[in-house]
Symmetry: C2
Subunit: 503 residues, 2 copies
C-alpha cells in the first residue's frame, strides 16, 4: 500500500566535517607509502628558506604544526596517510601562482586539496608533498539569476553554494552526500557525479569557465559566462577530472539550472532486481523530464544506514529499495505523474510498498537514509569501496558475485548507487584493513567489471588507489597521450604526484 | 488573439544538399588564398607516387577529377574556395590511420571534411590540402534503447541519425538547420550548438566516447558507453570543438535522451525587445523543464524566410517573433502549461498575437520558417555571417547598432538566434562580397561584442575566418597552451592548417 509519509524521524543533511570530528578516536592508518611500498619521486626537500619564502607571501596561512596538518594528511575514510610537513592556505589566484612558481623552480611536489572527501586517495599526500588547501579561497563573486551563471572560488563548500544560489531561485547542477564538506573545486577537478547527474548532466556540460594555475605559476584565464563559446580549443576540460595533476583551479563559472517549484520523493520496496529494472524503465517513460534522481539501495545498505543513525525507516523489509525524486514546475502535474506511475507499478506488482512526500522536511528525511549511508560505522569498520559503471541489465550482478567470492572473510558486501546513470557503488566492509582480503578483492572485482564491459571508475576517479589499474584497463596509446599532456603542462611533475599516472 | 494553427503551407526540413544542388549556377568565389593573401605553409607537394599509395589503400575512393572535387573545395555559402587536387573517401578507421600516417611522413597537409556546412571556412582547404571526406564512414553500429547510447561513424548525416534513433524512442541531443547535410562528426569536431542545447546541454556533456586518429596515424580508443567514466584524463574533449586540427574523429558514442511523447510549438509576435525578455523569463518560469527551444527572429528575418520560400506566415507583422517549443511526457499537462503561459502573456500585453500547435506536420511548418531562414536567397546575395554570445539584457543591441553603422551600404541586417542560450546570429546581406564593406564590419562588430563582454564565436567556431581574432580576444597564455597541444598532437601541423591557430 502506498502511503503519504508522515512519521520519519527528522534528520539533517550529511555533513562530512561532523563525522570527521570524532575521527580523532580512530586508529591512525599506516603511512600509505609503507602499506603500498611506494618509492619517493626525485623531488626537492623542504628547507627553512622555502618556508620563509611561503611566509613572505602567506604570512600566518603557512602551517607547520603537526597537529594542524594531521587531518590534511589523512583521508576521510582513514584509509590513507601522507607525511606532509607544510600546509599552505592561499586566498587569491596570485598567491597560488606564486606558490607554484616557487615549487616548480625548486621541484617541490604539491598536493592540492579541497574538502578532502575524495575516495581514491587523490586528495592526501603520499610522501611529504606540500598541501595547498583551497579552503580559504571560498569567495562567491556573483550569481546572475537571469542567466543562471555562478562565479566563485574553488574552495566554496558545495552546500554553501546550494544555499546561496537558492536565494536566486537556482540550484547547483551537482549534489552529493559529501556536500557539507566537499569543495566545488574538488568536485570539478574530479568530475564528481552524484545525485543530480541524471537530470542536469555532468560537469563537462555545466562548467562554463575555469581559471587555473599551471605548474609553473602561469595563470590561465579560461573563464566564460556563456553556454556557447567556441573560441579555440576547449582547454577548460583539461582541468575537469584530471584530479589536480595538470593545474590548480582558482576560479569557476558554473551554469545553475532554475530551482524547481515542486519536489516529490518516493521510497519504494521491491522484491527482485528484475522488478527494479522494470520500475526504472517505467519511471523513465512516465516521469520523463521531471525525474531528477533514481537511487538503488539493497536491503543491507538501507538497514546499515537506518540502524547506525537510528532513523525510523518508513518502509518494511524488501530485498531492494528505489528512491525516486521528481523536480518540476507544477506541483499538481508532478503529483499526478508520480502517483499515476506509483499506482500502476503497484498494480502490476513491480513494487510492493512505498511512501511518497512533497514536504521539504520529509523529503530530506528520506534523502538522509541514502546520503548518510556511506558514512555509517565509518569509525568502527574498514571499507573497501568500489565505484563502477556497468550495463543496466547487469547492474547488480557483481554484488552477489562478491558475496559468494568472499564468503565469511568480510562482514558485509553492500550494493547501492545511481542506477539512473548505470553507476554502482560496492562497499565491502571488514573489521580492519587486511592485505589478504585486499588481494582477494583486487584485481578480481575490476576484472569482473571489465568482463561486463563496465568502467573501473564511474565518478570517484583514479587518484593513488587505481592508477596501476590504468595500465591494464586503459589503451596504451591513450595512456601515452595522458603522459604527453602531463609533460607539457607540468614538466617537473610537481602537481599531485603518485596520482592518476604511473611513472 | 491566440489561435490554433491550421493554415500553414506544408514545408519539409531544410536540406543543405538540395540548396547546394543549384549552386552550380552561382558565381565561383575567389580563391581564399588570394582574397585574404594567405601564404602557403611549408608542406610537401602531392606526387603521383602519393596518389598511387592512396589508391593502393582506397582503390577508386581516391578522387582526382576536378569537377568531382569542386564542391568539396567551396564552402556552402560560396564564400571560400580552396584548390585541393585530391579527395579521399575512407570507409574505416584503419584507412584513416593509413592515410594520416603517410601524410605525416610526407608532410602533406590534409583537410578533414564532414558535410561541409560549416560557416567559418573550417571545412574547405585553403591551398592544396588533401581533402579527407568522411561521407562514406556512415555506419550506425548500434543503438541501445534502455541506456540511450548510440554508437556510429562520424560521417552519419544528423537527420539520418535522428530518424534512426526515433525508431528506438530516442532523440538526438543536437538539432540544427543543416541537419539534412551536416555530419555528426563535424558537429562534434566543431562543438555545434543548435536548437536543442537549451534542453539537452552541449556535446561536451552528451558525447560519451570518441575514437580518433592522431596526425601520425595513431588510433586513440576513447570510447565509453557510460555517462560516468572517470578513468584518467578526459581526452575525448580535446577533439570536441578543435575543428579537426588535433585529430580526425572516426567513431562516436552519444547519449540520446528519450523521445518526448508530446511536442507543442508556439509562434508569437511581440512589440519590443523588452517584451521579448519578459516573455522569455516567464517561459523559463512557467514552462520550466518542458521548454525545449526558444528562438528569436526579428521582423526582417522572418519575412526574409517567408518571402523567399513562399511560406504562409501564420502570424501578422510584428517587430519580433519568438518560436517556443515544449517537449514533454504528458500532452495534457504540457498543453495546460503552454496555454496558461501564452494566455497570461497575452493578458499582460507581453505578446500581441500567436499560434500554437501540437500536430506534427504543423510543428514542422513553423520550424521551417526558422530553419530555412539561413538559406533564403543564398544563391543571390553575399552573406557576412556573425555568431556571437551576448548577455541576455543586451541580446539584440548590436543589430540596430550595425544598421546605423552600415546604413545603405548593405541590403539588410538581420538578427535572429537562440535567445535561450544567449546566442545571436547577425546576417549582413550584400549583393556581393566587397572588401570595403568587409572592413567596415570587421573588426567593429567583434570589438562591440567584446565591449559587451560577449563571445566572438558562440557555436560556429573559429575556422579560417576568425583565427586572427584570437590574437586579440584570447588570453596569450591560453593561446600558447593551444599551440603546445597542437605541437604534441600534430607536430608537423598537417591537420587542417590555416585554421583555428595562427602561425
Amino acid at each position: 500500500m502506498l502511503r503519504k509519509l508522515n512519521t520519519l524521524k527528522q534528520f539533517g543533511n550529511l555533513n562530512f566535517t561532523a563525522c570527521a570530528a570524532y575521527h580523532s578516536t580512530r586508529k591512525i592508518p599506516d603511512l600509505t607509502r609503507d602499506r603500498y611500498s611506494v618509492k619517493r619521486g626525485d623531488y626537492g626537500t623542504l628547507t627553512n628558506d622555502d618556508i620563509k619564502y611561503f611566509e613572505s607571501i602567506l604570512s600566518n596561512r603557512c602551517i607547520t604544526d603537526k597537529n594542524d596538518i594531521e587531518m590534511h594528511n589523512i583521508d576521510f575514510y582513514y584509509s590513507y596517510r601522507g607525511s606532509s610537513q607544510l600546509l599552505l592556505k592561499p586566498k587569491t589566484t596570485e598567491e597560488v601562482s606564486a606558490i607554484l612558481k616557487h615549487c616548480n623552480s625548486r621541484k617541490l611536489a604539491v598536493c592540492p586539496q579541497g574538502g578532502n572527501t575524495g575516495l581514491v586517495a587523490g586528495t592526501t599526500p603520499i610522501f611529504d608533498e606540500i598541501i595547498i588547501s583551497m579552503q580559504l579561497m571560498n569567495n562567491i563573486e556573483r550569481v546572475d539569476e537571469a542567466s543562471g551563471v555562478l562565479v566563485c572560488q574553488p574552495g566554496c563548500v558545495l552546500e554553501k553554494l546550494e544555499e546561496h544560489v537558492s536565494q536566486h531561485n537556482l540550484v547547483m547542477p551537482i549534489d552529493l552526500g559529501a556536500k557539507g564538506t566537499c569543495h566545488i573545486g574538488g568536485n570539478v577537478s574530479t568530475n564528481a557525479g552524484g545525485l543530480r547527474l541524471l537530470r542536469y548532466g555532468n560537469l563537462h556540460g555545466n562548467v562554463l569557465g575555469i581559471e587555473a594555475v599551471k605548474a609553473d605559476g602561469t595563470i590561465l584565464d579560461l573563464m566564460s559566462n556563456f553556454k556557447k563559446d567556441n573560441t579555440g580549443y576547449h582547454l577548460k576540460h583539461l582541468f575537469i577530472g584530471s584530479e589536480g595533476t595538470l593545474g590548480v583551479i582558482t576560479k569557476l563559472a558554473i551554469a545553475c539550472p532554475p530551482a524547481s517549484k515542486a519536489v516529490n520523493v518516493a521510497l519504494v520496496g521491491l522484491n527482485s532486481f528484475e522488478d527494479v529494472l522494470k520500475t526504472f524503465t517505467s519511471a523513465k517513460r512516465n516521469l520523463g523530464e521531471i525525474m531528477s534522481a533514481c537511487e538503488l539501495m539493497d536491503h543491507q545498505s538501507l538497514r546499515f544506514s537506518v540502524d547506525h543513525y537510528k532513523l525510523n525507516s518508513p518502509i518494511g523489509e524488501y530485498p531492494f529499495y528505489l528512491l525516486l525524486e521528481t523536480s518540476g514546475s507544477n506541483l499538481k502535474h508532478d503529483e499526478e505523474k508520480m502517483n499515476s506511475f506509483l499506482e500502476s507499478s503497484l498494480a502490476r506488482g513491480d513494487i510492493q510498498d512505498g511512501v511518497v512526500t512533497n514536504e521539504t522536511v520529509k523529503v530530506r528525511q528520506i534523502w538522509a537514509i541514502r546520503e548518510l549511508l556511506p558514512t555509517a560505522k565509518i569509525n568502527e569498520k574498514y571499507f573497501f569501496k568500489y565505484d563502477i559503471s556497468v550495463p543496466l541489465s547487469r547492474f547488480y550482478e557483481i554484488v552477489p558475485v562478491m558475496r559468494e567470492h568472499l564468503g565469511d572473510s568480510v562482514c558485509d558486501v553492500q550494493g547501492f548507487g545511481h542506477i539512473g546513470d548505470s553507476n554502482l557503488h560496492v562497499h565491502i566492509i571488514c573489521d580492519e584493513f587486511s592485505d589478504e582480503i585486499y588481494k582477494r578483492i583486487e584485481p578480481f572485482i575490476y576484472e569482473y567489471t571489465a568482463k561486463m564491459k563496465g568502467s573501473i571508475s564511474a565518478e570517484h576517479g583514479i587518484g593513488f588507489q587505481k592508477k596501476e589499474l590504468l595500465k591494464t584497463f586503459k589503451q596504451p596509446e591513450a595512456l601515452h597521450l595522458m603522459k604527453e599532456l602531463k609533460s607539457v603542462m607540468d614538466p617537473n611533475h610537481i602537481l599531485n604526484p603518485y596520482k592518476v599516472l604511473c611513472d
